[in-house]
């Protein structure tokens, strides 16, 4: 909502400066987005007279103008190329040193084709006033009286424009008067009385009949419609003051009749429409649309209407969308001599729905969908009539009113003490009453329990909390005393849930392992979704901003892998990224799962990235990913060796170099492995990559009951270590050997590690050797050789029983 200072002053009698007004507006909820003061950039331009325009000695199309720039001062010579530069004209002069906003040039003394120019006569485009560059500005000869005066003062351009960002609850402030009322209530001046209108009620009945053709159920679409005909008008351009205000507000002046409707809309938040009455056929009707009806609108588009839309029609059919946009067929033109003025009430919800469906936003819709003042239908009509009579002449009819405006006002029982209870601000009773009254509220009753009736222009006021806001915003939020909130506990307690703690910890474990945390989009291209097990219809956005961001991600890996490649394209060959975030298996809350996922691409390993004199640069592989998973789970208090490892990772992993960590048959804790080459190719990732996905929600809850650690067991006796090498079928997992050996003697065997794996000709085809080190921990006394031999025999037997492996000689 843009308004000018002088326009505001039409309604507000104030001494306040522009800055004070802007600060106060922002403080009371009418946020000032910007202030445009044209005086700042146009101040140097002055009114000047061309005493003589004579041909340029060296150029046919140029003239040398002798210009009077101030009374009594010697004239200056200016070179000018404008076709309309001529002796006697009144123009706008820029002295040397002036910055020309339209061209960005600062004038300096420079000969033009041999003749010196001591300034410039400017066009509207050079002042950024319009696109007009046909010639220099030509002022009314009457301004010859004001040679040397500032052009902005003469042209009425000195008026600063304030742009207020309105919140949707304030339809009353879609008119300048509403803003003035708020400022007056806030102590920044007095609201001026309503202007006195001339005689607007005519002698003859309005010849245009108005009909509201609704069923009782749909009557609220347009419950009231007032109109008046004015005949014998002469439609031409509106006066300069109105045009400059409309322009300041961002509107294009069209003609007096149309400009008046726009002016009243901006001045009072009261949209109107004018019809060329000679083009109307029969009665004017407000009704719902019918399927198949269409009409050409004032914006040059044709709209199809339906049964939910409120339309204005005559015998010829639909003329316009009620409260939104009028039609071309009955538009007022320069030739219009008889005008019918519409001032109606349209239902906010239906107007909003219609506008959204038709895809059209207008100043009228903006106001009606917020709720215009139902009590201002007739006053608005009269105000418009008065302006038409003043600016276009004519002879008014009596007004005609169909229906009755809706009554929104309900009296609210209000305990004034609630202001203090809700805000902590103590406001004296009298002051509360004064503020409410200044805003147009009626306050009845004595004592703190009062009855408040909001004004007709405030459809946003429903209950006591709204009244508290009115008082506190006007009295001043800065006066609300800061009040400490009571502490719940003396010392702060931990507030995070187990899941939140785990997420936090996982993030720092992974960052500590050299991975860099990324945050990638929750939505990804659909083909990627499908490739990673997603792509369900209910997880597709109906209105994505692009096909690249259309599908709620089933996995974090597509986003990470794409990020890997973007970084590779910037010259980073070895990239380790992780993300901790949500993925979606369906559209219900329980379908959203928390995943810690990571990718190591190229030689991005725990020990370091890329080549280094100390170690070879090997690409990260399945075991790097497995290590990330195991380390994270261990840090989250879960012993990863408790879980089973299975070769059943999803299709985006390399089938032979990946795995799944399961707890029981159903619970999948993690995937890890190298990414399938076909998946890499589909995502345009040009490096091998290892990845993991840890499903944090799947982790069993922690069982710890006490913070105390269990008693430490640290035997004094030295452990004994024995090595074994087994030859077995190459398909037997080494993990089975470890498990078999570990189970051979649950008391003595403390640890089993694999220290060598190899396959070679010496073993024969399809065979491999797995070498393990078994640690025996004596508990009570040193083990004797026969005891050690006995345990060794058990290890060999158990490994053979479970894996078929034979001990190597």
């Amino acid at each position: 909502m843009k308004l000018t200072l002088s326009w505001l002053q039409d309604h507000l009698d104030t001494e306040a400066s522009l800055e004070e007004i802007a600060d106060r507006l922002s403080a009371i909820g009418l946020e000032v987005e910007s202030i445009d003061d044209p005086a700042a950039k146009l101040a140097p331009f002055t009114v000047a007279r061309v005493i003589e325009a004579r041909p340029h000695p060296n150029a046919d199309r140029l003239r040398v103008c002798v210009v009077e720039v101030a009374p009594g001062k010697p004239p200056v010579e200016v070179v000018c190329g404008a076709p309309n530069a001529r002796t006697g004209m009144i123009g706008v002069f820029a002295p040397l040193g002036t910055h020309i906003p339209g061209t960005g040039i600062t004038l300096d003394k420079r000969p033009v084709r041999g003749a010196v120019s001591n300034g410039m006569l400017v066009s509207e485009r050079e002042l950024e006033l319009s696109e007009d560059h046909e010639g220099i500005i030509e002022l009314d000869p009457a301004h010859g009286e004001r040679i040397g005066a500032r052009y902005i003062d003469v042209a009425g351009l000195s008026d600063p424009v304030v742009d207020v960002k309105l919140t949707p609850n304030r339809p009353d402030c879609t008119g300048v008067r509403g803003i003035a009322r708020d400022l007056a209530a806030a102590g920044l001046g007095k609201l001026r009385p309503e202007p006195r209108l001339g005689t607007v009620e005519g002698a003859f009945a309005c010849p245009v009949d108005i009909r509201l053709e609704f069923t009782p159920e749909t009557a609220d679409a347009c419950p009231a419609f007032a109109g008046r005909l004015v005949k014998d008008v002469k439609n031409g351009p509106s006066p300069a003051w109105m045009q400059s205000r409309l322009k300041a507000a961002g509107l294009r002046p069209i003609s007096a009749l149309v400009d008046i409707t726009n002016y009243v809309s901006l001045d009072r938040g009261r949209p109107l429409h004018v019809y060329d009455a000679d083009k109307l056929k029969g009665a004017i009707r407000a009704r719902l649309g019918r399927a198949g009806e269409r009409f050409p609108a004032l914006d040059g588009r044709e709209y199809a209407v339906d049964e939910t839309m409120c339309v204005i029609a005559d015998d010829s059919g639909v003329l316009g969308l009620g409260g939104i946009i009028g039609g071309e067929s009955t538009a007022c033109t320069e030739a219009t001599t008889s005008v019918f003025i519409e001032s109606a009430y349209f239902d906010p919800l239906r107007t909003a729905a219609t506008g959204r469906k038709a895809g059209v936003q207008t100043d009228a819709r903006y106001r009606f969908e917020r709720g215009v003042d139902p009590a201002f239908i007739v006053p608005g009509l009269d105000l418009a009539t008065d302006l038409i009579l003043k600016l276009a002449g004519g002879n008014p009819s009596k007004r005609r009113v169909a229906g009755a405006p809706p009554e929104h006002r309900a009296t609210i029982a209000f305990d004034l003490r609630r202001i203090g209870r809700l805000t902590g601000l103590t406001v004296k009773e009298a002051e509360s009453r004064k503020v409410l009254a200044a805003l147009g509220f009626e306050v009845g009753g004595k004592g703190p329990d009062v009855k408040v009736t909001p004004p007709s222009w405030r459809p946003d006021i429903h209950g006591p909390a709204d009244l508290v806001e009115e008082v506190v915003r006007i009295v001043g939020l800065d006066k609300v005393p800061s009040t400490p909130i009571p502490r719940v506990q003396g010392v702060t307690r931990s507030v995070l849930t187990e899941a939140q703690r785990r997420g936090r910890r996982a993030r720092r474990v992974l960052a500590g392992r050299g991975l860099v945390e990324a945050m990638t989009w929750s939505f990804i291209p659909r083909p990627q979704s499908e490739q990673f097990g997603g792509g369900a219809e209910v997880l597709e956005l109906a209105n994505p901003i692009s096909v690249e961001m259309s599908s709620m991600r089933p996995s974090l890996l597509p986003g990470l892998l794409s990020a890997v490649q973007r970084n590779r394209n910037r010259g980073f060959a070895n990239v380790a990224l992780f993300e901790l975030g949500q993925a979606y298996r369906g559209d219900q809350p329980e379908d959203q799962i928390q995943i810690a996922a990571g990718v190591r691409a190229g030689a991005a390993r725990l020990a370091g990235f890329g080549r280094h004199w100390d170690a070879p640069a090997e690409d990260a592989g399945v075991f790097d990913a497995k290590s990330d998973v195991f380390a994270t789970l261990a840090a989250l208090g879960f012993d990863p060796t408790r879980a089973q490892i299975a070769r059943e990772a999803p299709s985006w992993y390399h089938p032979g170099r990946s795995g799944v960590l399961r707890l029981g048959p159903k619970t999948v804790l993690a995937h890890f492995g190298e990414i399938h080459p076909a998946t890499l190719a589909a995502l345009d990732v040009a490096a091998p990559a290892a990845a993991f996905e840890i499903f944090l929600d799947a982790l069993p809850p922690e069982k710890r009951k006490s913070r105390a650690r269990p008693a430490m067991v640290a035997p004094d006796l030295l452990p004994v270590r024995r090595d074994f090498a087994f030859v077995l079928d190459e398909t037997v997992p080494a993990g089975d050997v470890v498990r078999a050996a570990t189970g051979a003697d649950k008391v003595l065997i403390a640890d089993v590690t694999v220290f060598d794996v190899f396959a070679g000709k010496s073993l024969g085809p399809g065979r491999k050797s797995v070498a393990i080190e078994v640690t025996l921990q004596p508990r009570e006394r040193t083990l004797t050789d026969p005891e050690i031999e006995a345990v060794s025999a058990k290890v060999i037997a158990e490994v053979k029983r479970i894996t078929g492996g034979e001990v190597r000689g």
């Binding site: 946020e31 969908e369 902590g424 800061s482 945390e517 956005l541 973007r566 910037r570 809350p589």
Partner: protein, 362 residues
């Protein structure tokens, strides 16, 4: 024969041989020649037995003295030779200490600045008794709008630029409401009030979505919601809470703040909050950081609570925005670009765990 002069000669001869031994092998030969089974001193000792007792005692003492002197000299020489050998070996073991080293994974990895600020904000609000609530990204219209007092066709809904999910289609067979991506974290207020009796103090950080994209808007960003519901919390408490938060978060003694009346459908009264950019070292301009207000009675009622009894405040702020302000990050879009250069520059180490006692950012 054994005589004192012979012993003296033996001693000086052995000591000079010990002194002359150039390495441990030579020294060992001297030792064997002197103290070995057939060594010169051992032979002297053996001869002592053949002497008369008088002579045996005197010469025995003298022989032992020679043996002790030789042994000591052997030990000393051995230690000297070992030290020399070690020095010689070490002299060959020279590393090029100018070679660069790797700092290890803990120096390579980074925490995203928004995650870090998540933790900072939680740290501050936890101290004020807030716990952390969560809600899903995919929400119903009811929880994202209707229960928050934003009815259908309300102009406020249009300002939200909502992403909708597709209907299940005719094969879906259900009458499920159309789902959307939450446009703010406020539905978590509703979820909390519906499931937890007052008093309530929560913050709810998370991802939110608007179909909007330009230099200052991304279609996904992060918000943090705050909510207190009890029987007495008022607007003055809200002001204090936000003032304390800003001081703690920006880690400055004083933050100048401006509270402006505003409108949100789910709060009444509502206010927007600006901070003086002096807090981030750029005095002279106001920065809008959040919207807030007293929870609207309709919202309280929609959650099955009595607005005559319960009241409280709510606020919502852009987590990415306060991250950018605090850490001087110029462009919102970089937050989601996963550019390694950016993350290394603006990210945090795993060990940078924010605490109130140790400082949020140090």
């Amino acid at each position: 024969m054994v005589s004192f002069p012979d012993l003296e000669k033996l001693r000086s001869e052995l000591l000079s041989r010990i002194e002359a031994a150039r390495d441990l092998v030579a020294l060992e030969q001297v030792r064997i020649a002197a103290l070995g089974k057939k060594g010169s001193i051992s032979e002297q000792m053996a001869r002592l037995g053949t002497l008369p007792p008088e002579q045996r005692r005197e010469l025995g003492q003298a022989t032992n003295a020679v043996k002790a002197a030789v042994s000591d000299a052997l030990e000393a020489r051995k230690a000297a030779l070992e030290a020399a050998a070690l020095d010689e070996r070490l002299a060959t073991e020279r590393a090029d200490i100018s070679l660069p080293v790797r700092l290890g994974p803990a120096s390579e990895g980074r925490i995203h600045p928004v995650s870090q600020v998540f933790d900072e904000v939680i740290e501050i609000f936890a101290d004020m008794g807030f716990s952390v609530a969560e809600g899903p990204d995919i929400e119903t219209d009811d929880l994202n709008f209707t229960k928050l007092n934003i009815p259908e066709e309300h102009p406020a809904r249009q300002e939200h630029d909502t992403f909708y999910l597709r209907d299940g289609g005719p094969g879906d067979g259900s009458n499920r409401p159309r789902m959307l991506l939450r446009t703010h974290t406020s539905p978590v207020q509703i979820r909390t009030m519906l499931t937890q009796p007052p008093p309530i103090r929560i913050i709810a950080p998370g991802r939110v979505y608007r179909c909007d994209s330009d230099q200052t808007h991304t279609p996904m960003f992060h918000q943090i919601e705050g909510l207190i519901i009890d029987e007495s919390t008022h607007l003055g408490h809200l002001k204090w809470c936000l003032e304390e938060f800003c001081k703690a978060f920006f880690e400055v003694e004083e933050v100048k703040m401006r509270f402006r009346a505003s409108h949100f459908p789910f709060t009444e009264p509502s206010m927007e909050v600006d901070i003086d950019a002096a807090a981030i070292g750029k005095p002279g301009q106001w920065l809008e950081i959040l919207g807030s207000g007293m929870v609207h009675p309709n919202v309280i009622r929609n959650c099955g609570l009595d607005p005559e009894k319960y009241q409280g405040f709510a606020f919502g702020m852009g987590l990415d925005r306060i991250t950018m302000l605090k850490y001087g990050i110029p462009d919102l879009r970089d937050m989601f670009a996963a550019d390694l250069r950016w993350m290394k520059h603006y990210g945090f180490l795993a060990v940078d765990v924010p605490t109130l006692a140790g400082g949020l950012s140090s």
